[in-house]
Symmetry: D2
Subunit: 344 residues, 4 copies
């Protein structure tokens, strides 16, 4: 098969770099260009030392981009929306990893991000979560990668809301996140001696990904996010707490997950009764596209605790986007996403 | 002043070892004996290398304990209850760091721990949290140290429930805990290659400390605990989520905390508007007896997020117990608890 | 092509588990059986949660092993030597990951390990480092995996000794090692609260891998190993210090490495002049079969510092063994070893 | 006793902040002013959250400094040398924590730092290591704090060179250092996602502290430093390797250390024969002024491995400087330096 050509805009960052890593082992994709204004002229391995021996690509400035079959955009939020035409004319297929086109509702966008410069384009991108939108993604030319925290939250809650097993009422979500989520740019907050060993509350309230979560879950539930940064480099552990409908049991929860995710290649329902690894742990999905999902029911109160572990840069960002691209191209969904994770 | 003599039963563990560390720099206390069955005959520095140069004490087996002014018990849960008379006759003042006598309600004990062998003694110990029971502790001969997770949760919620600022309804508590909480005994779960880098859900539901929390908070609120172990060695970050009464504001929350904790020497209300360190972080209370408390209100929903950071072995265990002992003896409350923590 | 069948003895440990992980993505190998006495009957994912969704294999007790094309032995040191016939009859190709058959010289074995039960078999196994013994490995039926620290040390020093660029005299090697090196068995030394955050000198003198290093380096040089355990879970950073022959320069060192490793698929010479990642770092080879090698010359003293970073469980254990097996079978050397490592 | 007044220039950095932490619990010292150009006007707790509840000091710009009894200078290297008069007139006692006045030999300074702007002042400061220069420090008005890596190296080697137990020849020193050593200023190298989990060679050759080491060790030995940064925030583990004189034994090494450090309050010789904590480990001196020193002799080769663990910011910087100040003032040497470290 002829390889399709691909370019990555903003490849020195963590999302773009991760997409690059995945695509370099993809049999049908060929990376032609990668851009970075700051590192233009340097080999990509100057920034991403893991790719030594894998590629001789050098960063180019974005002005030197040439047309390609697929354009992956890993720009800071807001840039693509402002410069949309410039990028849209370069490739028929666009994958945006920023927040610019994730939402459909301009009001929600406004509440969390401010005025959108191109509101008429909202809704033109397909939200790139295969577990929710597989059919639409097969025909999507423009795809918007989901937020990493939104991915974990949606994947954990979607079957419960679709299956109607929860009591109406607020769902409380606590997200344990990682330092790569803040991006590749140094800052006083990311200075290692300040950051290492910390458990730093990041967003107790008002997290932007709330908008995506609400928009993509059936029935627009009342979901409250609290995000706390650990000092892991990668990974998200999402826990959600809500009450089960009276009379419903653990079996019904199982049933809901099985119905929603029965054939999903990257969802693993984790429910051992014993053992050290009986709940999902982001450590063991590091580098992979898996979402490990578990849950536990408090019998006497009906409180259900759902747990989801993902790698924020893979399943949370570049991985689901590549999975979506595979769908769009009619390729096997798992291409480039085969890594199994490490133990220990 | 004559020093009071003190013995620590179970001093090779983390709670007993921490009490020992604190007491070695206390001006009015003298440690006469420390027990450890397993390490009997070894110097305490064999187990606690931080104490090199501070003490020449050696562990003795518990059978060789002699009378002292104060006996500190850091035994596995259940042992003291079973062997109560043996220890009670050794000293007029007892400080128990286990869960054996923390609760008053035998029903609650039964639910979380099983049958209590000496239920008639429940209620005879004063719960050793100075912020709640300062006056009673001044006259207490028998004191029961609070659970570390209970300490963090109670200290965060007590002013809100006392001040009546919360809407009735469930309070959702997420506890990020540390590996020292599981004690000094090796196990497959604590094996470093398995444990390091993990975010391991420890108790999604049914946490035993729920009993203490409920019993010590005004009005016995419905509190739901979910405990997740990070790979920090020490420290707890508690976050609690609940709704404020309609019409109440951040000012009212402030007021509640000020009223409850105005003169407390070890409570620090953290509420900067900006900066890297604007929320409580267990890293910066490590080794100290401080509880750092913060909160944030989501204006449009009324959701209040409370955050508490403590060191589980100090404020969460040995520190509040020593603070209680200082109260009992009529000494300044902060003796032996002066360490300020480190940055970075 | 027909898949070759393979069994792994001791697959619940870290070396065996890593071989299993690699082989599960190998196109020409099929794992038929994996043994673990302790976990017999449990699915391998009970121990290795990273393999969820990848295999339904369950551990069997070693007694139930059946013949296979290839047998991989990941037993504690000494077991294979004692029970050799039992295992040798099960498969024509044996790969031993223990220290039992790494050495040729019975005197060296005796010095570091004690009496060898089957000294006549020493020398019958080929030391499974492809960079040194590629040709022999193509015809080897019995292969002995190298020690992880020996691998790092040998790969760093071999070109220098072969090229004759070093002054005669002692070479000082400092090995920064990881906690997985001590295996999967819990112990007081591996208890997380004791181990995390430590820099623990492990073997200041007398390291057993000295024997392998001396035996496999040209001229049997005087090499002194000091091993220090960091709290990384995986990875080795080896630094070696020695003096260059008078009059020789950095160019000569380059030349020596190029000559030795010109076409090696898994050796990467790292020598950037600037940048954060200008020296080898075990973090960026984690999970991979790469050995990253760098060096720096102190011009005014002639002191050369060599640096090697590997993953102790991959290039240091299971990876070079699989690479050797690929050679033996006439397959492409990199099969099953394609993972590129992560950044960040 | 009347408290002496003290001001700290550059107190938002890690060295200055640590001096501040120590002095806040010193009974005879009163901090009057602390400077920071960047954070002028902010409370010191904005930067140093550990000091909440301990001080209400705010940073002032250096221009607003007023005379004090003692001035502590924690400025970037070079600043004090250039602006010497301005600071020297403010206080009779100066403690400089930079490298500006550590050396006596202008040639050595030139080699490692470049031209010194005030070479005539070199040699006017006393090098503030009490273990070497206790008598001189009792009368010193100007003191130069030692480099952290130099402190660890000198403390480990001084008794051996003074005692004459080493064979002439090179001494190889490997320093495992921490991220706080690079200071409080964010940089690409210190960005947490890049730094965490790394073992990053920092200075394989040419380390500046070599100059101090050579100048302060008897006989100006040939010492080679290689520095590797772990991802600990604090702490140094120094290992040195050299050969013992023929015929000398472990007893002689003991003797040398005892003679040099017999009454030292902050030196602890660690030499257990067994146990998890039988070698020095920087983790257990964190926050303390201790230097833990151990050694091991390889009998058959005569190679001696010396190990020293210190906290780079305490014994390596602020702690030995405060110890020196206590000496200068005629106070007990240990004032303000009482913290014992934590376990676990």
């Amino acid at each position: 098969m002829d390889r399709k050509t691909l370019a990555i805009v903003g490849a020195s960052g963590y999302a773009g770099g991760e997409f690059l890593r995945l695509v370099l082992s993809h049999p049908y994709l060929e990376v032609k260009q990668v851009t970075s204004r700051r590192f233009a002229g340097e080999p990509v391995t100057f920034v991403h030392p893991n790719l030594r021996g894998r590629t001789n690509l050098k960063f180019i400035p974005p002005e030197r981009l040439e047309p390609a079959d697929i354009l992956v955009l890993a720009l800071p939020h807001g840039v693509l929306a402002r410069e949309f035409e410039r990028y849209a004319q370069l490739a028929p297929i666009l994958i945006d990893l920023s927040a610019d086109f994730r939402l459909k509702d301009p009001g929600l966008y406004q509440k969390y991000y401010g005025e959108h410069p191109r509101p008429e384009l909202l809704g033109r991108f397909v939200y790139a979560l295969p577990e929710l939108y597989r059919d639409r993604l097969r025909e999507a030319d423009w795809m918007a990668g989901a937020g990493c925290n939104a991915t974990a939250t949606i994947l954990g809650l979607y079957p419960l809301l679709k299956g109607g097993v929860l009591k109406p009422g607020p769902v409380f979500v606590t997200l344990l996140i990682s330092t790569s989520a803040a991006g590749a740019e140094p800052s006083p907050a990311s200075h290692h001696p300040e950051r290492a060993g910390s458990l730093r509350v990041y967003k107790p309230t008002g997290h932007r990904h709330t908008a995506e979560v609400v928009e993509n879950l059936p029935g627009r539930p009342e979901v409250h996010l609290t995000a706390i940064a650990t000092d892991r480099v990668r990974g998200i552990l999402m826990t959600a707490q809500a009450f089960l409908l009276d009379g419903w049991s653990e079996r019904d929860v199982w049933q809901a997950y099985r119905e929603a995710y029965g054939g999903e290649p990257f969802i693993r329902i984790v429910k051992q009764k014993k053992g050290v690894h009986r709940y999902p742990d982001p450590r063991f999905v590091q580098g992979t596209n898996y979402a490990d999902i578990g849950f536990e029911l408090e019998e006497d109160t009906g409180r259900l605790v759902v747990m989801v572990a993902i790698d924020n840069l893979v399943k949370g960002t570049a991985g689901h986007a590549l999975q979506a691209l595979n769908l769009r191209m009619g390729w096997p969904e798992t291409l480039g996403l085969e890594f199994s994770g490490l133990h220990p």
